[in-house]
C-alpha cells in the first residue's frame, strides 16, 4: 500500500511516504483543451476517411469555409452579438429572480410551499409549449424572448441555490442564532456563501440553458441571432451552416462553462475537497 518515492528534484533528498492516491490528484495543466481537441480530431479523422459522410456532418474544413462565408457575407458577428445580447439579458434576469426566489423559499417553509411547486411544474413542462402563453403576455418582440430565456435560466439557478442552501450544515445556523445575527446578515454571511457551491453549479446549467433557449425563442420573429441562423439553414438544408451554428454553441457553451468553473475554483478557495 505504501511505497517509498525518491524525488531528487532538489539537491536535498526528499523521501516521502507515498500513499496510493484515491482522489483524482492534481489537475493536468491544459486539460481544458484535451476534450475539444480530441473531439475535433475524431471529427476530422472521420470526415477525412469518409466514415462520417458530409451529408450527416460537414467536415471541419468545410465548416471553416462556411464560417468565413457567414462572417463576410451574412454578418455572422451581428448574429452572434444579438444572440449574446439576448442570452445575457435573459440570463441576468433569470439569475436575479432565481436567486431571490431560492433564498425566500429556502428560508421560509411558507415561501417554499408557494414558490417551489409552481417552479417544479414549470420546469416539467416543455418550454416550446409555453411559448404561446408568453406570446400572449409579452408579445412577439424582444421582451417575450428575454422573458422566456429568463424563465429558462431561472430554473437551474433556483433549484441549485435552494438545494445548496438547504444542504448547509445545520450547525452553522445554530451558531448564527447564538450570536444574535439578523435575517439579513444571516443570509449574507451564512446562507449565500454556504449555498455558493450550489449556486455555481446552477450557473453552469443556467448559462448553457440561456444559450440553448435562443434556439427556441429565435424561431419567433427574430431577424438575427444564431438560433435564427440555424432555423433558416435547416429550412434550406444548409448542413454546413447548421454545423457552424452548432460549433458556435459548443464553443460558447464550453467556454462559459469553463469560466464558471474557474470562478468557482477561485471563490471556493476555502474548501478542501477532492477537487483540490
Amino acid at each position: 500500500m505504501t511505497i517509498l518515492e525518491t524525488r531528487p528534484r532538489v539537491a536535498r533528498p526528499d523521501v516521502r511516504v507515498v500513499r496510493r492516491r484515491l482522489g483524482p490528484g492534481h489537475r493536468i495543466p491544459y486539460a481544458f483543451w484535451i476534450g475539444p481537441i480530441l473531439l475535433l480530431a475524431v471529427w476530422s479523422a472521420g470526415s477525412a476517411t469518409g466514415l462520417i459522410s458530409p451529408a450527416i456532418l460537414t467536415a471541419p474544413w468545410d465548416v471553416v469555409v462556411a464560417f468565413g462565408e457567414q462572417w463576410t457575407d451574412h454578418d455572422l458577428l451581428g448574429n452572434i452579438l444579438s444572440s449574446l445580447h439576448r442570452a445575457a439579458l435573459g440570463l441576468g434576469f433569470g439569475i436575479a429572480a432565481g436567486g431571490v426566489l431560492a433564498v425566500v423559499s429556502g428560508l421560509s417553509r411558507l415561501g417554499e410551499s408557494l414558490i417551489d411547486g409552481p417552479i417544479q411544474i414549470k420546469r416539467s413542462v416543455p418550454t416550446l409549449a409555453l411559448i404561446p402563453l408568453f406570446i400572449a403576455w409579452f408579445g412577439i418582440g424582444q421582451e417575450m424572448k428575454i422573458v422566456t430565456i429568463a424563465l429558462i435560466s431561472l430554473v437551474p439557478i433556483y433549484i441549485h441555490t435552494h438545494n445548496g442552501l438547504r444542504g448547509i450544515d445545520g450547525r452553522y445556523a445554530e451558531l448564527a442564532e447564538t450570536i444574535g445575527i439578523g435575517r439579513g446578515e444571516f443570509v449574507r454571511h451564512i446562507v449565500l456563501p454556504g449555498a455558493l457551491p450550489g449556486f455555481l453549479l446552477g450557473m453552469r446549467f443556467a448559462v448553457t440553458s440561456s444559450l440553448l433557449g435562443l434556439v427556441v425563442v429565435e424561431q419567433y420573429n427574430a431577424t438575427a441571432g444564431i438560433g435564427h441562423m440555424i432555423t433558416l439553414a435547416e429550412q434550406y438544408g444548409q448542413t454546413d451552416v447548421i454545423v457552424v451554428g452548432l460549433v458556435i454553441y459548443g464553443v460558447f457553451g464550453y467556454c462559459a462553462d469553463s469560466a464558471v468553473r474557474l470562478v468557482g475554483r477561485k471563490v471556493l478557495a476555502w474548501r478542501r475537497t477532492l477537487e483540490d
Binding site: 445554530e174 456563501p193 478557495a269 474548501r271
Partner: protein, 240 residues
C-alpha cells in the same frame, strides 16, 4: 439589571428547573435537572463523556427546540456559546469569523485584539482549514470573548490546548470575567481546570446534578476538592 431594585435578593442569571431532555431512542439524557447561576458567577460543569453536558448547554442556549422533554429555563438576553467543535464558518477568514455579526464600527479592531490575545496575531486572513486544531479552538474562543455576553456557555473550550497555552487562556478568561462579570458555565474534563477557574463546580451524572460544590479557598483545600470531584467522577484511588 439582574439584581432586584432593593438589592436584597439576587435574581439568578440562569435558572433551570426540572429539566428533562431525551433523544427518541435512548432513555432520558437530562432527568429533572435543577440549576441556578448567579450573575457574574463562574460555574464549572464536569461529568462523564455522554452524560448530557452539551445537551444542557444547548438547552440553555435555546438550540434544542426539537428535542423531547420539558422543564423550565430562564437565561439572560445576551448569551454567547463556545461550541465543543470550534464551528468556524469555513468560508470566512479567521478575522471575519471572529467579528461575525458585530455591528460596532470598531469591530475589526476588537477582533484583531481578541485574536492577538488568544495568540493568533497575524492569522487574521487565514482560512479555518489552515489552522491547527488548537488554533481553531482559540479562534472560536476569541469569537465568543469579543462579544461581552451576560452568559457565557463554553463547551470544553480548552480541550485541544497544551499546558502553556491553556494557562494563558485561563488568564485571559479570568481577566475578561473580571471586566464584564458575565455568568459563566464552563464544561471541562479537567478537574484541575475546573477548580482553578470556577467559583463552583457541578458534577452531572445520570441527568441530574450529582454534586454542587463551591470552590471556597477558605473552606476545604483544593486538593481535597480535587479528590472529592474525581471520586464523584468514579476515578479510583490509584489513578487520581
Amino acid at each position: 439589571m439582574a439584581t432586584d431594585p432593593g438589592g436584597l435578593i439576587t435574581r439568578p442569571a440562569v435558572r433551570v428547573r426540572d429539566l428533562h431532555r431525551r433523544f427518541s431512542a435512548n432513555g432520558g439524557v437530562l432527568n429533572g435537572l435543577d440549576l441556578d447561576i448567579a450573575p457574574g458567577e463562574f460555574v464549572a460543569l464536569i461529568g462523564r463523556s455522554g452524560t448530557g453536558k452539551s445537551t444542557l448547554l444547548r438547552a440553555l442556549a435555546g438550540l434544542d427546540r426539537d428535542i423531547a422533554g420539558h422543564g423550565e429555563i430562564e437565561v439572560p438576553e445576551a448569551v454567547s456559546v463556545v461550541f465543543q467543535d470550534s464551528r468556524l464558518l469555513p468560508w470566512k477568514r479567521i478575522l471575519d469569523n471572529v467579528v461575525l455579526g458585530l455591528r460596532e464600527p470598531d469591530a475589526a479592531q476588537r477582533g484583531r485584539t481578541a485574536l492577538d490575545e488568544v495568540g493568533l496575531a497575524g492569522r487574521e486572513r487565514s482560512w479555518p482549514f489552515q489552522l491547527s486544531g488548537g488554533e481553531q479552538q482559540r479562534a472560536s474562543l476569541a469569537r465568543s470573548l469579543v462579544r461581552e455576553p451576560q452568559l457565557l456557555l463554553a463547551d470544553e473550550p480548552f480541550g485541544a490546548l497544551d499546558a502553556l497555552t491553556r494557562i494563558r487562556m485561563h488568564k485571559l478568561l479570568r481577566k475578561l470575567c473580571e471586566a464584564h462579570q458575565p455568568a459563566v458555565l464552563l464544561v471541562t474534563h479537567d478537574v484541575d481546570e475546573a477548580i482553578a477557574l470556577a467559583d463552583r463546580v457541578i458534577v452531572l451524572d445520570a441527568g441530574v446534578v450529582r454534586a454542587d460544590v463551591p470552590v471556597d479557598p477558605a473552606g476545604r483545600s483544593r486538593t481535597e476538592l480535587r479528590t472529592f470531584l474525581l471520586e464523584e467522577l468514579g476515578v479510583e484511588k490509584e489513578n487520581r
